[in-house]
Amino acid sequence: MTSTLTGAGPARTGPARFGVPRGWRRLAPRPALLAASAAAVAVALVPLVYLGVRTAEAGAERIVDELWTSRVGLLALRSLGLAAVVTVACVLLGVGAAWLVTRTDLPGRRAFAVLAALPLAVPTYIAAFAWVSTVDRLEGFWPAALVLTLCSYPYVFLPVAAALRGADPAQEEVSRSLGRGGWRTFTDVTLRQIRPATAAGALLVALYVLSDFGAVSILRADTFTRAIFIAFDLGFDRTGALVLSCVLVALTVLLLAGETATRRRGARYARLGGARRPPVRLRLGAARWPALAGLLGVAALALGVPAVSLGRRLASGVSRPGALTEVLTATGNSLGFSLGGAALTMLLALPLGLLTARAPGPLATALDRLAYLAHALPGVVIGLSLIFFGITVAYPLYQTSWLLALAYGTLFLPLAVGAVAGAAAQAPPGLEEVARSLGRGPWTVLRTITLPLTLPAVGAGAALVFLSCMKELPATLLLRPTGTDTLATELWTHTGVGAYAAAAPYAALLVAIAAIPTWLLVARSGLLDKEDR
């Protein structure tokens, strides 16, 4: 889910003035590109559609039987409750930390900005593993809430910190000049300025909690994702798993609809341009000590615990007989699957990214939203649906890495689309037209202008997709060919049987892998920019 944050990043710039004439072509963009984009989205929606088809086959009576049980009600309550608790905690933690880091004279605020973003580099299943292997018999709702909060508050912190940095200080100055004091200016102006960012971050957290599989499984908190996996793993009749998946999809769609609504309202808060001025920082005085202690405490829990736990176990894990070969094999498998997944994802993303960048319009937007829908689905649901798809429709693909690549494509398509659209914006059509008017043919223009300008961004996007595939757990767990293990599945297997030392090397490698996109995200957010005064 790191993806949604970065995926939304690249500017969806409109066509240049010398590009497509304004307005007239909105409804009839390039037909070939449109067809290719529609095909890509159709492929990405295979799991969702097949889930519906397969569930419907069970018949209304069976579905109702499975649905109207106290267990489903309990699961729904627990999943939503977990999402609510974690979201509220993340908003408090994220907004507070963002405000301290961007608007006060807190000592070491740049370091704290990085510390507050770093938990993104710890996949939840690794954090859960670290806690379980540190504290005995840690399990249930509240530990899961704690671990998920510590892992996902950066989803609120990063956009809010960026909004606080980017917010126009003139609005606050106007508020003060109109007689509002510091606190009322904060509540009436500042908090409203960052409301879209906060809402977007909060919904991201909620979606993330609903789709999380690793942490709730390791910490034995019974939520939908865990129940789906268990129902599938144990049952002969998989209707139960299918029905649970559909309920989870329905919850996800509800949340997504909420996100869309806030995004539309948030559009009005856009800054009107003008030079950026750093805001005046608040002097904390004696309050700086509790603030420091608070941030340090959160960092210790979110980063210190996993670091200490991994460090403690790593030595014995590495020296275990046969560990090296096992790790190397798993790394090789991870690399192979992820390469395939990234290649397929980029292939699907190219037409859609070009379409949104070059021929924006209602159709392009609709396709883009559909791709996001698939992305928000829990990996466990996508994995499950693709298993049925493989068994009944595409048997030659079943138990091959193709099916896994398809799952990755579904999960990470928006991430790649964002990268391609951003890349296309680097080479606006106006530049190509100028090049042609200077007497260069289409191929020369492609070679000398378009490719040099777009390849870096497309490459970065592909790398990001690749890394996301590496750390994906639930779909990989369900879809990997039997007997083939990746870093993530090895970690899961070892943790499942309490072999914490054996799991540690995989966890360390995965953290290293996840650190790269996190670093990119932090660098792009501007939190590392030279200190303003």
């Binding site: 240049a16 003035r17 010398f18 004439p21 007239w24 072509r25 009839a28 680097q426 606006p428 106006g430 530049l431 037209e433 100028v434 090049a435 042609r436 008017s437 200077l438 007497g439 260069r440 043919g441 289409p442 223009v445 000398t448 202008i449 040099p452 300008l453």
Partner: protein, 361 residues
């Protein structure tokens, strides 16, 4: 140097005809300005000339050779027509020299053409800079040098100065005009700024809703506009109801000689504010009340109301003290006026005329 001739050019986007039968000749070696309000089709005209759009009807001939129309569409890269877009659109990954040499072939790159055109636009020695190291005005100069370098048949400039601030614009306009002339280039400049069109172009073509309303020298377009809309679009206009008789018109400002042909009978007469002079009151003089005084530094616009309620504007040199508001003054008209048969202005045209002053910024 090449002559460009457009005949009956039509370009439609769905039901909208962006160009609705454009006839136009761009003489070789001259700078022609295409002037019109936003949405009049001037950018579409440029894109059709460059070869980025296909015509729906009509023909474009370059030196007698058909480049578009009649089933032919010479692609943009074979037309030898270079564009300078609004924001310059320099290739961000190439140095200034590499940008300028982009349209040159291998042998020409080794020659001194790059230095020559960079010197023409006043950027000699800037070859090694990257585009992001240049100011907006410098980027625009490089874009012009890049377009000139391969000696194209035609250079198209799409509002190249509009993104720059006013002070910079005048200087750059002059320099680029000089560079185009020094290189003997044929050029078409698209703009909505009537001051820009009148001051730099050899010829001005006024475009409205996809049609050419008037084409001529800047003086002709300003002094003898084809209709009332053009009169208002290219400058401040005082329009008065009048009765014409044998080359003279009786107007609220007295009897005025007319330029050009006008039928006898009811007419609308155009007087430019600079033709209206404020004079000492005397017997038989036309008197007016001062309503407003807009000081512009070098001159001032004085809004006046005649005794019969007609409102007019006078442009006066601002050397003396402003006339006090509410004062009675006498007015006189210098020179001849332009007249058109009086016809009710339909609502749409009236709207356009109202909008014109704000569009011209």
């Amino acid at each position: 140097m090449s002559e460009v001739v457009l005949t009956g050019v039509v370009k439609r986007y769905g039901p909208v005809a962006a160009l609705d039968g454009v006839d136009l000749t761009v003489p070789a070696g001259e700078l022609t300005a295409v002037l019109g309000p936003s949405g009049c089709g001037k950018t579409t005209l440029l894109r059709c000339l460059a070869g980025f759009e296909r015509l729906d009807a009509g023909e474009i001939r370059l030196d007698g050779r058909t480049v578009a129309g009649g089933g032919r569409h010479v692609p943009a890269h074979r037309r030898r027509i270079a564009v300078v877009p609004q924001e310059g659109a320099l290739f961000p990954h190439l140095s200034v020299a590499a940008n300028v040499s982009y349209g040159l072939d291998r042998s020409a790159r080794r020659g001194d053409r790059i230095d020559e055109v960079l010197a023409l636009v006043g950027l000699a020695g800037y070859g090694d800079r990257m585009p992001h190291q240049l100011s907006g005005g410098q980027q625009q100069r490089v874009a012009v040098a890049r377009a000139l370098a391969p000696r194209p048949s035609l250079v198209l400039l799409d509002e190249p100065f509009s993104a720059l601030d006013a002070g910079l614009r005048a200087g750059l306009r002059h320099d680029i005009r000089a560079a185009l002339r020094a290189d003997g280039a044929t050029a078409v400049l698209v703009t909505h700024d009537q001051g820009e069109a009148l001051s730099v172009a050899d010829r001005v073509v006024v475009l409205r809703t996809g049609r050419v309303v008037q084409a001529g020298t800047p003086t002709a377009v300003y002094r003898e506009p084809a209709d009332q809309w053009v009169a208002g679009f290219v400058g401040e206009a005082v329009l008065l109801p009048a009765t014409a008789d044998a080359g003279r018109a009786a107007t609220p400002l007295g009897t005025l000689p007319l330029t050009g042909a006008a039928p006898d009978g009811p007419v609308t007469v155009l007087v430019r504010p600079e033709q209206v002079r404020l004079v000492p009151t005397g017997p038989g003089a036309v008197t007016a009340t001062v309503l407003r005084h807009d000081f512009h530094g070098h001159d001032a616009l004085v809004a006046l109301r005649l005794a019969d309620g007609t409102r007019i504007t006078a442009r006066v040199w601002a050397e003396r003290e402003p006339v006090p508001l509410g004062a009675e003054v006498a007015v006189e008209v210098d020179g001849a006026a332009r007249a058109w048969p009086a016809a009710p202005i339909d609502a749409a045209e009236h709207d356009v005329r109202q909008a014109a002053p704000t569009l011209t910024r």
